[in-house]
């Protein structure tokens, strides 16, 4: 049984052991950071845009496997994407990427990078990040 879990987690563990897109970008277009208070997970995201397209994305942070691996996967996914498509990403996309079931507590770890990214985008667009709107649109179950 647990071997199945480890097999399921192999991809996640691979990102955890050898995270991709780690680092910082000087003069990023999009930049935000946040901490999951109860866990101490911290994620800081940098995104560079060209013609409304993500040409580079990096993160730095510390914390649990789920938070760090999901940040790494999310950035890998958005590189090359249009900002408008990035804005459409939801909890469902994150869970598809991770490929495992998460308890409600661990869900917060998985979604930290999505929240930081959306906060950065709001800032970039000169808007106030509305957490309630964000949760309603992208996190709450359909």
């Amino acid at each position: 049984m647990s071997d199945e879990l480890y097999a399921q987690m192999e991809i996640i563990l691979d990102y955890y052991r050898n995270p991709k897109n780690v680092g910082i970008i000087e003069n990023p277009d999009i930049h935000a950071e946040d901490t999951n208070i109860p866990c101490g997970d911290h994620i800081e995201i940098f995104v560079k845009l060209k013609d409304n397209k993500v040409i580079d994305a990096k993160f730095r942070g510390q914390g649990c496997i789920i938070s760090q691996a999901s940040a790494s996967m999310l950035l890998e996914k958005i590189i090359g994407m249009n900002l408008d498509d990035v804005k459409k990403l939801t909890k469902k996309d994150i869970l598809n990427m991770l490929g495992i079931n998460l308890s409600p507590t661990r869900m917060k770890c998985a979604l930290l990078s999505l929240k930081v990214l959306n906060e950065g985008i709001a800032k970039y667009e000169g808007k106030e990040f509305n957490i309630e709107e964000y949760l309603k649109e992208k996190v709450e179950e359909e």
Partner: protein, 414 residues
């Protein structure tokens, strides 16, 4: 106290705990989160069921047999608690919701009335938030100072600091009996002596000691002693505050309402006798009856035997865990000085990841700051994983736990 303690029959005990038969992800539940709450034996569950099926009525003032019966059950529960911790009188037992409420009660009544600017309260760095935040709130209101006794690198209290920090302006010393993180058993009797020498009152947070070892409040010479029912096989929502009668009598009431007054007119009220002065409104009779049944259960095993069983388990777990590479175990090594609580970290793995991997094998541990953030800062970590044992835990379960920890280490390559 008896010198010969019975040997605990764990397999027989486990039969009394229906929840231990549960499986998660196809794995037998291994419950190692006893410092958070204990499981309940069917004797406790049945006592509560019986109460609602046969004995339920509001207590006091009911002039009918059913109410008299419920009142008797409630008061007998206090007698049982008093005897369990060796209080002199059952009137010294006040029921609250939990340890947190017990400590807050003292802060709100005794603290507000007796403290003034320039006074100080001495605590320790290992306190649970429940024995820290009430005093922080009070210190803002009354402009008093809080002082903290530090620990040494093994997690033992620095008694030399206690001697210095407790002075003539100290009005209260409040210390946990057993740390919920380090497991350290503090020398409360010695600390109490220092407190009393300087004229301070002495409060002991017994949330982590009362369920696991013999407690004698008169031997400790505690002025106040607080603990929770749910960590000692009882239901949630019932806690105890013990206080010396002469101190409780001088204290103002806590909550106002029914049952806590002797006489009441529109002009004012006079307060009821102990312990009712501190128990406004309808009581948690169900909780009192459940706690009573829990104490019966603990007494049938013997607190000395329980302590011995847990000490052996802890010793075994510490030995086995020490062999795991890259593990860091917090707290005293000598099991004579620690209860059945083991906090640890494994390499740089986040404790929440450890807890998730263990959960996948049916093992329930806790991970986080354990409501003791100042202690986390003192230890230089953001969080730890914590396994904590009780009467129904056995060596086989520790073996599974060790096996899984080794596997996690291997898979994550820390």
């Amino acid at each position: 106290m008896t010198s010969v303690s019975k040997i605990i029959n764990v397999d027989q005990i486990r039969e009394d705990f229906p929840i231990l038969k549960r499986k998660f992800y196809g794995k037998q539940l291994i419950y190692f989160d006893n410092a958070a709450t204990s499981q309940k034996p069917k004797q406790v569950i049945e006592a509560i069921k019986r109460y609602y099926e046969e004995q339920n009525a509001n207590i006091h003032r009911g002039i009918y047999a059913l109410s008299e019966e419920a009142t008797q059950l409630y008061e007998n529960s206090k007698r049982k608690v008093a005897k369990f911790i060796n209080a002199q009188r059952w009137e010294e037992i006040i029921y609250t919701r939990n340890t947190t409420e017990s400590i807050n009660l003292i802060a709100y009544t005794w603290g507000r009335k007796n403290l003034k600017k320039g006074d100080n309260i001495v605590l320790t760095v290992m306190e649970h938030h429940s024995n820290l935040v009430p005093w922080q709130l009070l210190s803002q209101e009354k402009k008093i100072k809080l002082r903290f006794i530090n620990i040494d690198d093994e997690g033992l209290l620095r008694l030399d600091q206690a001697e210095k920090l407790i002075d003539e302006n100290t009005k209260l010393v409040s210390v946990t009996h057993v740390s919920n993180v380090l497991g350290t058993i503090n020398p409360v009797k010695e600390i109490g002596k220092i407190a009393h020498k300087k004229g301070a009152l002495f409060l002991v947070d017994g949330a982590q000691s009362t369920p696991h070892m013999p407690v004698d409040v008169r031997n400790i010479d505690a002025d106040f002693f607080a603990f929770s029912g749910h960590k000692m096989l009882g239901p949630m929502g019932i806690g105890v505050l013990y206080g010396k009668r002469e101190i409780l009598e001088k204290m103002s009431p806590f909550l106002g309402g029914g049952d806590m007054i002797k006489q009441c007119s529109l002009a004012g009220c006079s307060w009821n006798d102990l312990p009712w002065k501190f128990e406004a409104g309808t009581s948690n009779v169900e909780g009192a009856i459940g706690l009573s049944a829990a104490i019966d259960y603990l007494n049938s095993l013997g607190m000395e035997s329980i302590r011995e069983h847990e000490e052996q388990l802890t010793k075994y777990a510490l030995e086995q865990m020490s062999d795991i590479k890259d593990i860091k175990i917090y707290g005293p090594k000598d099991t004579k000085l620690r209860g059945g609580v083991i906090s640890f970290n494994l390499g740089n793995i986040h404790p929440h990841d450890l807890a998730s991997f263990l959960d996948a094998e049916g093992i329930a541990i806790r991970a986080g700051h354990h409501c003791a953030e100042p202690l986390m800062i003192r230890l230089g970590v953001t969080a730890t994983a914590r396994a904590s044992f009780y009467i129904y835990n056995k060596k086989d379960e520790i073996d599974v736990f060790i096996k899984v920890l080794n596997k996690i280490r291997e898979v994550l390559k820390v």
